[in-house]
Point group: C2
């Protein structure tokens, strides 16, 4: 039998907590025996929710945490002051090795700060990037970095490329993943100071399959598997991706309701439309990992459903099984030593 993966799950984080979060945990443990989930949060609330369900009791533990970090709170302060919050308690479990991974739909800021401050970076990793998957024509691409650490240096971006490649190869299963840097033109001499400095470093890097620049227009086509950028640009790409997609879809749906003819048409196209839009939903791959930490931290969407939570837990198993952190250590420390 394979080893047990221990996942600390933030039962209090996200718009649909605790119901959808706990549901996600139960969905996954009823299918897989190699997972133990620690539900971290207010004991009574979690118990009450658990009591509504039948489930394999030996795969779930409750870890009491009396405080909650709200999304609007300044992250650094929140992490420092709310020692008994679900995020801080769960992060400490990863730090001490009680849990292999932490999954949360809670405050992005607190998760990013806590990851660095509490869980800590792998030796040699300069910055832990947040790396969500975005849907493309061909499947998904890893957008790295979308975190809170803006104004990156070229050496950070090179590490992002390496860590992203390891993740895409071993967790998503893409052989020899193609790496590109976000730029405003295809030519090597284009770009801002950061991109111009980083480009030759990526080109010279032996650990990755660098294919050059990618313009934002090409990102949805899926020609690169690992899309490297600094966090400000990454954040803009990630959020615009979601914003344009959802706006366009809602406009189309509203448009279809304007007359009888199109309403009938809408009924007929609904199943295939749903199928198409499902392809544009990356949540079946889980949440966004914060890479380069001594453990795994996964940030899921604030509005995560049980499905996204369940997939994020499975992602933690793959991450552990594939020894991603050992592979990151090997690659990053090779150059440091």
């Amino acid at each position: 039998m394979s080893e047990i993966t221990k996942v600390a799950l933030d039962a209090m984080g996200g718009d649909n907590a605790p119901k959808a979060i706990i549901q996600g945990a139960l969905d996954v443990i009823t299918k897989r025996q190699d997972i133990h989930v620690f539900l971290v949060g207010k004991e009574k609330i979690i118990e009450e929710e658990l009591n509504k369900h039948e489930y394999p009791k030996e795969q779930i533990s409750i870890v009491n945490a009396t405080e909650i970090i709200e999304t609007a709170e300044p992250p650094v302060m929140a992490i420092r002051r709310k020692k008994d919050s679900s995020i801080v308690v769960a992060m400490n479990m990863v730090k001490t090795g009680q849990a292999d991974a932490f999954v949360s739909a809670g405050s992005s800021g607190a998760i990013l700060v806590g990851g660095q401050v509490l869980v800590g970076r792998i030796k040699g990793v300069e910055r832990p990037p947040l790396a969500p998957l975005i849907p493309t024509k061909n499947g998904v691409s890893l957008l790295i970095d979308c975190g809170a650490n803006v104004d990156a240096r070229p050496s950070h971006l090179v590490q992002f490329a390496k860590m992203g490649s390891i993740y895409m190869k071993n967790v998503i299963g893409i052989d020899n993943p193609k790496v590109a840097i976000v730029n405003i033109g295809a030519e090597e001499e284009k770009g801002n100071a950061l991109v111009k400095e980083t480009f030759p470093l990526l080109k010279a890097c032996e650990d990755i399959n660098f294919i050059g620049s990618i313009e934002a227009r090409e990102i949805p086509h899926g020609e690169a598997d690992v899309i490297v950028c600094e966090a400000f640009v990454g954040n803009v790409i990630l959020k615009l991706f979601e914003g344009v997609g959802s706006t366009l879809i809602s406009q189309i749906k509203n448009g279809l309701m304007t007359n009888v003819r199109s309403k009938i048409g809408a009924l007929l196209v609904k199943p295939t439309l749903k199928e198409t839009l499902k392809k544009f939903d990356a949540s079946e791959y889980g949440g966004a990992p914060l890479l380069g930490l001594n453990g795994l931290v996964v940030k899921t969407h604030g509005n995560s459903t049980a499905k996204e939570v369940a997939n994020s837990i499975i992602q933690c198993v793959t991450f552990k099984e594939q020894r991603i952190n050992d592979k990151i250590k090997e690659t990053i420390q090779k150059k440091v030593e």
Copy 2:
């Protein structure tokens, strides 16, 4: 009778040149007598194309230019060497006052460089931003800057906000346009170094209606009329907007063709779908102006249709009638003196 607006049109630029470009010019002059178009490019080719049409001859002149700047050419070199290219010849016409404006679907790089080097900046303008309109739920927003000058300073962004406000008010007709800066969170303390430095300057600026930060997710909702950012980020937003939209639409269209039921549905929804997607096309407002120059330079899409060219020419008339450059001078020089 109102004054004549003289527009130099690059007959050689863009994927559909010269046919669609010339068609656009003819479409507009047959409707409006207050416009004179100089078709700049290879005389014989233009003449041949013109001979296929009936049109008011007194509103069109051909200006011979024997060279063409290709999209792939390094812009600075091209502008310097190809003195008899359509872009250089037309830009010089704007500089000397023979034309009020220049419209081109040709090389973005050459147009941006030529605008600065040949047409020249209004005194006090630090950088001329390229400011395309992007479609939103509510209409359009001006995205400023999407040009070639990356790594901007805070003072540049403040000028972009002022020039963008003047344009949206007087050309697009939006009263007291709302200005926002692209950021990765709504709070004032968020952002990269550039945004953090620029935010208080925009807040203190009396000439604009600053509403704070805008996250990329909110851009398609149209809550800001003028969206300020430096050119690298602007370029990413513009191209991703187009990329996500077109990918999603093509996926939906392909999806609808997968079975008989959805094919029938597709026939029924086609008219309203077309109507909805039309709203997501900003080309009815013309092309992207390069603001802050001694004259007007408008960059249209490389694949511009006759309609986009015609609308860009009308945009030049409004720009002149509304004395946009006088208004930019007043606002920018007020602080300089």
